[in-house]
């Protein structure tokens, strides 16, 4: 226990032991099994599996749709956070609670509901189809589902920062002759930027791996509307364990990179707040 540096309360050994045991058994063991399995493929085979045409199309789609969806969320997330923090209107509390819905609603439920709404004969899909915009079973539908999944992230990272902004700064800007738009652009937005980027990265990381809400609306056509997690499932169903593991390895690497990025961004946010 020599590496404990602070804390007088009892129970350090017990809680440390239990936590490490649980994390080791449930997280480290399975994940290392996967990493070892995918590295046992041999470089040549691994590369062949992860870089075939179908896999490349899936990465492009997954990364592209996740990026667009998270970008939409970055814009509207700041807007929603702004409205919730700054204005009082009827139903604000309910709207605030609903923001967390994508986090609590099972993804399969979200998937069939979004598909029903935006299918060609759905409530919103029909008017859009008349305008010539097909949503369900296209990359647009995938982007839509990933936008749904990412809604809480930007709102919930930006909201507390916005609440902490000192109104004096804005008043000072106004007194010095800045218009409201200038104040937002030059004074408020810079302090929201780290939190917005953190939220964007969180939403992007989540969207990359999303499966349940996408499979129903995507149509699942290889090369066209097949996201990477679906490709992994397809390969598993064909008993192509090596292929599934290799592609999962690529996605896992992407998750780790995103996790690292989020940690750096969070550190930046904390510094910006201090």
């Amino acid at each position: 226990m020599r590496f404990k540096t602070r804390g007088v309360l009892p129970g350090f050994g017990l809680s440390l032991g239990y936590t490490l045991f649980y994390v080791g058994l449930l997280v480290l063991l399975p994940l290392s099994a996967m990493i070892i399995k995918s590295s046992s493929l041999g470089l040549h085979e691994f590369w062949a599996k992860v870089s075939d045409e179908r896999a490349l199309a899936a990465y492009r789609l997954s990364f592209g749709a996740a990026f667009v969806g998270s970008l939409l969320n970055a814009v509207f997330g700041v807007l929603v956070a702004w409205v919730l923090v700054r204005y009082r209107f009827f139903g604000r509390g309910i709207v605030d609670a609903l923001v967390d819905l994508p986090f609590a609603l099972p993804t399969a439920v979200a998937g069939i509901a979004l598909t029903t709404v935006y299918a060609e004969h759905g409530v919103l899909g029909e008017p859009l189809a008349k305008l010539g915009i097909k949503v369900a079973f296209t990359p647009l539908g995938i982007t839509l589902a990933l936008t749904f999944i990412g809604i809480p992230f930007v709102v919930r990272t930006v909201q507390p920062v916005l609440e902490e902004i000192d109104p004096d700064v804005e008043e000072a800007a106004a007194v010095l002759g800045a218009t409201r738009l200038q104040t937002f652009r030059r004074v408020i937005f810079p302090s929201l930027l780290p939190a917005t980027l953190t939220g964007f990265a969180l939403a992007f990381a989540r969207s990359l791996g999303e499966y349940g809400s996408v499979v129903f609306i995507s149509g699942n056509m290889p090369m066209r509307t097949e996201i990477t997690p679906l490709l992994i499932v397809t390969k598993l169903e064909q008993y192509d364990y090596a292929g599934a593991t290799a592609i999962a390895g690529v996605m896992l690497l992407a998750s780790f990179v995103m996790l690292l990025l989020v940690n750096l961004l969070e550190r930046w946010t904390r510094r910006a707040e201090a």
Binding site: T19, P30, Y87, F90, G209
Partner: protein, 312 residues
């Protein structure tokens, strides 16, 4: 739209009256934010219930009373009944560890706890297939002893536990860290044992955060789809949880049935959101009381913003 914006009390409202946006801008901003949320959040949510009841109450309850659906409900309850208590015990231990002590490698541990959040649910299922599946590390050993984990209930429980295990820990860590250890240390000097401190002081202090963590963990455990779908094998009546049943009914074009089952899960999600609101409200009123009593004693006020920040 214009009736929507109600002015806050003037005293509370210094900021908006002095440097606020014009009424028109405000209405436009609120309108576009609500439109966005309406299209992306409310429309799908309402669709679940409207589609479930589209043929009336009879077919709705008939769909729920179907044998396969009842089996799925049973398996879902069993799965959540095992994985939620495991994760609650872990969550309390991890929160105690992280918030009461500083030690070498603490930030690495926190990252590890958060890890399942950044891993695709499909990969979360796959890792258990690689461990316990027919071609996995322990596959042959298990096959010899005729133990089935993958495409059986134990695999479903493991995958669910993996996917939901950060949820309780995260909520409790946030609240425990925000509340500090002053009361616990005071109890220690008065001769309380570790267990007494945990049961009499710490757990009551974090009860709302803990409750929200448990409810959220439960909702996610009952609703997990991707990971469970990979390990379940979709054996009807045996390894189908509620979300998998939703998928099956939907793919069979039994939309009333699919949405009837989905409405159960959606209601659970709504209850979860309500509990979160209540927990936030309780934390805020606790904070207000604490501020008031500390003002009375003229002590410095400790910032206590439990349940804030990113819940995901």
């Amino acid at each position: 739209m214009s009736g929507l914006v109600t002015q806050r009390a003037q005293s509370e409202h210094r900021r908006e009256t002095q440097v606020g946006e014009s009424r028109l801008v405000r209405v436009l901003l609120i309108g576009s934010a609500l439109t966005f949320l309406g299209l992306f959040l409310l429309a799908p949510l309402l669709t679940v219930f409207i589609s479930a009841f589209s043929k009336g109450l009879g077919p709705y309850f008939a769909a729920l009373a179907q044998g396969e659906t009842l089996d799925a409900i049973g398996l879902t309850l069993l799965t959540a009944g095992i994985s939620v208590p495991l994760n609650v015990a872990f969550g309390i231990a991890a929160a105690w560890l992280v918030s009461k002590y500083d030690f070498w490698g603490k930030s690495v541990l926190i990252t590890l706890v958060d890890l399942p959040f950044s891993v695709s649910p499909v990969i979360s299922g796959l890792i258990f297939v690689l461990l316990f599946g027919a071609h996995g590390w322990f596959g042959p050993w298990l096959a010899e002893r005729d133990i089935k984990i993958i495409f059986a209930v134990p695999g479903i429980v493991m995958a669910t536990t993996f996917v939901t295990f950060p949820l309780v820990a995260r909520e409790v860590i946030a609240v425990m860290q925000a509340q500090g250890s002053d009361e616990e240390e005071a109890a220690l000097t008065l001769g309380a044992s570790g267990l007494q401190i945990l049961l009499r002081i710490t757990l009551p202090k974090v009860r709302w955060g803990l409750l929200y963590g448990v409810i959220l963990c439960n909702a996610r455990a009952m609703g997990e789809f991707g990971a469970v779908s990979v390990v379940s094998g979709h054996v009807r009546g045996l390894t189908n949880t509620l979300p998998l049943q939703v998928e099956i009914l939907y793919n069979e074009y039994n939309f009333v049935g699919a949405f009837a089952v989905a409405s159960l899960l959606a209601s659970l999600a709504l209850v979860t959101l309500c509990v979160k609101k209540v927990a936030e409200w309780a934390a805020a009123s606790r904070q207000a009381k604490r501020n008031a009593s500390q003002r009375a004693l003229s002590l410095p006020v400790r910032a206590e913003s439990s349940l804030e920040g990113v819940s995901p």
